[in-house]
Structures are given as structure tokens and as C-alpha cells.
Symmetry: C2
Subunit: 85 residues, 2 copies
């Protein structure tokens, strides 16, 4: 059974106010060793048993393009992993 682990992040140059807030919060908690913070969304898509790796990868890519990311401001990467049961 195949899983796609998808990470959606902002393209370079797109403002990420949540990340800025987290960076400031970490600094105010005393953690001053961060140079940069970025945020993103994570999705784990589990496919039905009958799907081959190639089929799953192709469907995962379409799902990312059409629903999970906004291609104007975001980019995505995913990796396929095989899991039992």
C-alpha cells in the first residue's frame, strides 16, 4: 500500500507572516539561534491497496496541482513510501 507524504510551502518572495510571528515568539522565549523560519502544510495521502506506485504517484501529483496547493504562491514536494496493511 502506497502513501504520499506531501509538503506544501510558499514560493520564494511570498510573504509568510505566520513564520515571522513564530520566529519572533521563539526569540521572545529565549531561543535566539534561529536564522530563519518557514511554514507549510503537510498532507499524508494513503492509497487503496490495488494502486501501483506509478498510479499512486500520478494521482498524488494531480491532487497537489488541483487541490492541495495554490500554484501561484506555493510549491510542493512529495515522497512515496510503501506501508504494510
Amino acid at each position: 500500500m502506497w502513501k504520499a507524504k506531501v509538503v506544501v510551502t510558499y514560493k520564494p518572495g511570498i510573504l509568510d507572516p505566520e513564520a515571522k510571528t513564530i520566529h519572533q515568539a521563539l526569540t521572545s522565549l529565549g531561543y535566539t539561534d534561529f536564522k530563519n523560519v518557514e511554514t507549510g502544510k503537510y498532507f499524508q495521502l494513503t492509497f487503496k491497496e490495488k494502486m501501483t506506485r506509478d498510479q499512486a504517484e500520478s494521482v498524488a501529483r494531480e491532487a497537489c496541482d488541483k487541490l492541495l496547493s495554490n500554484p501561484v504562491i506555493q510549491k510542493y514536494t512529495f515522497e512515496m513510501t510503501e506501508v504494510s496493511g
Copy 2:
């Protein structure tokens, strides 16, 4: 220079209505090959140059415990990667 790539997801048994909605949306778009969808947050923490891997890993773990995740309902994993410049 070290980076921590953090993924925060819900613990088993915690309701994930966003994932349910995405699963339904995929189905209504004609993608009926998904058995399960889970969502989570992604954070990429870049550390200052002076930090060693051990120091960075320890700070990343504290940041996850104290700010990036809610230990009551969420779990996290992270991996350290070394980047140049």
C-alpha cells in the same frame, strides 16, 4: 548550517475535519483511489552558522515541545539536514 524539517500531525483518535473535507473534495473531483487523508503542519527551522548539529537538534526539540505542537493532541517528527550558505 543546520536545518530542522518539522512535521506536526494529530495523534491517533483526534478528529481531523480538514482532512475529511479534503478527502471528500478529492472524491468529488473524481479521485476515488484514496483510502485515507491526514493533514499536518510543516516547519523549516534554519539555525545560525555557529550551531552544531547536537545544539540545533536540542533547540529544535524544545521549540517543538513548547511552541510548534500541542502535546495534548499532536505529535511531531523532525529530521536534521545540513545546508550550505
